[in-house]
Symmetry: C2
Subunit: 418 residues, 2 copies
């Protein structure tokens, strides 16, 4: 999809010169003007954590400069979540104040914008929490947030926000300030903010991904098989599964990039046709920053029937037990080796970045817009959760089987084969 075709708007921003703005200002400008594409008169929700305050403020300032009517900042504190998990009665841990959901629902009704910051600021603070308790509290995620996403009423964008806590976890070998400086360098590289024209660089990459999504659609695949160390997994697709890149348009025709960075193409799988076993190739993070590492899952008839992990097993088990759909797939995504993330070889401990380093699947809620047919949409997975885990890498081969039964090589050593 070209730029002009989407909504007649040309993203002609010039990201501010490093000489006259802070790193946060430049990241904010890319987020507001390009990623989210905030329009005059919009209400804009900005969700972050206390350590991300500098970027929250920079985004709010830029959103108001872009003409926002109101910027609603939601600062969610993981330390308060920890207090809840330690002390609150267990049967209350899945309770969510109704006004949290109302905020999401009403921003959808107002055709507002939503911006969320990623990058776990408080790594390890849940390590001593009973995992069956921690899995029950899914905040800051809400059901309404997933629903509004699926309704395509809001333009939205998730971006990484470097913070001291996150930097210390990603670069523990460096000191506090050096780790943060290094993480900012990483994030600027990953976000192509080190390019003379970051928006042009993104448009070029997204054009490639849109082209791959279209080509995958033309293959008319019935299933994908992932094969590599610890992994032999077949994921069935729905007859009308549609491949997408992270280049979205709202129902009202407003283009936005829901994730920055984005290096993936993805679709909605058949929730009843996942078979085999799979090993995660990077840690995954549950909301609030609970880490799951060394995950292995066995699927039969679409359901995760065995699940074990070196770290965080019980938390993931409790988390996925929220509903029936929590054990079935809602997404399958392919990532080639041409992106900037995988090459760094760094585990960023945040799904937003790590999922764009490697092909991945997600347990839980599916994207209805990635299904073309009403009957298939009725069959796609439904859940209150959506948790991505990374299963791809250079050692994992991805092979497709078409509806006519032909096998087609899809990815080998990170390169597209079609």
């Amino acid at each position: 999809m070209g730029v002009e075709e989407a909504n007649g708007l040309r993203f002609a921003i010039v990201v501010r010169s490093p000489a006259v703005s802070t790193r946060a200002d430049r990241l904010a400008e890319l987020t507001v003007r390009f990623g989210t594409n905030v329009q005059p008169g919009q209400v804009v929700l900005v969700a972050g954590e206390p350590e991300q305050l500098e970027l929250v403020r920079a985004i709010a300032e830029e959103a108001y400069r872009a003409g926002a009517k109101f910027v609603d900042t939601w600062i969610f504190d993981p330390y308060v979540k920890r207090s809840r998990l330690l002390h609150a009665p267990e049967d209350t841990l899945d309770w969510v104040p109704p006004w949290y959901g109302a905020r999401q629902t009403e921003i959808g009704e107002l055709r507002g914008a939503r911006i969320a910051l990623a990058g776990d600021t408080a790594v390890g603070i849940f390590d001593d929490v009973d995992p069956t308790r921690s899995g029950k509290d899914r905040l800051p995620m809400t059901q309404e947030s997933l629903r509004v996403t699926n309704e395509q009423t809001t333009n939205w964008c998730v971006v990484p926000a470097p913070s001291p806590g996150w930097a210390a976890a990603v670069h523990p070998e460096l000191g506090g300030d050096a780790a943060l400086e290094r993480l900012w360098d990483d994030v600027e590289h990953i976000l192509r903010l080190d390019e003379p024209d970051p928006v042009a660089a993104w448009e070029a990459r997204i054009a490639e991904l849109n082209e791959r999504a279209a080509a995958l659609g033309e293959l008319d695949l019935d299933s994908l098989r992932f094969a590599g160390p610890g992994t032999d997994l077949t994921v069935g697709l729905l007859p009308s599964s549609i491949w997408f890149a992270g280049d979205f348009t709202t129902g009202d025709g407003l283009r936005h990039m829901p994730n920055l960075p984005t290096e993936e193409v993805f679709t909605t799988p058949d929730p009843e046709r996942t078979e085999g076993h799979v090993a995660s190739t990077k840690p995954l993070l549950l909301p609030g920053g609970i880490s799951v590492e060394g995950l292995r899952v066995r699927f039969a008839g679409g359901r995760a029937i065995e699940l074990e992990a070196e770290v965080g097993e019980d938390a993931l088990r409790s988390y996925a037990a929220v509903d029936d759909g929590g054990s079935r797939l809602g997404e399958v995504a392919l990532v080639d080796g041409r992106g900037r993330i995988g090459k760094l070889g760094t585990v960023f401990r945040t799904t937003l970045i790590d999922e764009n380093a490697a092909s991945h699947i997600a347990l839980g809620s599916a994207y209805p817009f990635a299904v073309g047919d009403e009957a298939d949409r009725a069959r796609m997975n439904q859940s209150a959760i959506h948790v991505d885990f990374m299963i791809g890498g250079d050692e994992v081969e991805v092979t497709g089987t078409t509806r006519s039964g032909d096998e087609i090589a899809v990815l080998r050593a990170g390169s597209w084969q079609f």
Copy 2:
């Protein structure tokens, strides 16, 4: 009102030993257990600013320890408010997201608790903002917040939260850390946290204030006259005005201290019988930290007909112009010289503390529970705002006139005369 009479609960907490807890922990314990009196199963709203995060976390932890079902932290950032005031279209500045009001209304319906932190963290950041614009944005205050207060459905408490920004404004002669240390000392003294048993000290002081409120009621006053430098003001009372100390009980019988510190007795005046002129004796603060200093107001027929200030005049004028009741009185309060605040001689630049240093009046919304009679309650002032300003001090004499026409000395040099 005695302790046991209120709700059968004895506030038998022992504030944690300084040796084993931080200052924030001890302030949090006083706030949660004594001031707010959080009950098992309650939803607790904690509202603060980013610089107050340490205390927000300590309060959340203590509220969960007290059995809270959920602690909803609302971190309101004055810098984002500044961006709004600088850039958003002027006709949108009074818009409040409906979910902000819903949060207050629903916490009332749930019989929840509300805790708010005071102490301007960002002094001066609104100085270059157009005051007619800044007066239109009343956040973080909402109409629903005032309404829930008046419905007496929630137990609530406002406490001061020392922060670097506030400390720098109160003690500019000291350096950053020294100023903050000094402000903590001040706040601990004002909150009687420097007593071996702070709760016992508060119970003794509140018993005095309750006794004075009862005695004022027995005087059957028709009006109060304030006379001092720049001030000759008569405030008429309603026939059924009731004097209160800051020792509240919800409709369900749950005792709480809505302000800590509290050194005042107050009532709801007749909104049509304020006459004369008055000079403020301390700066007042509008929501978001906009300062008003050197204020002089002339009243006739209950209405503020002339208003001038050395600093912040236009902001106050715009703020009070919200509705008809914004120019009439909703509260009159008397403060004796036995409290801890006035003696310090410090301007704390926060209404919570400064209003308890000196007798004061408030423009805007009145307290319906401080009126005994339905007909009088229909006459009391109504407004979307409530802004206190300090008019008392050792040089201001307060004299009452009873309904039978007798003059009675009320306060002279800070001492009760009856």
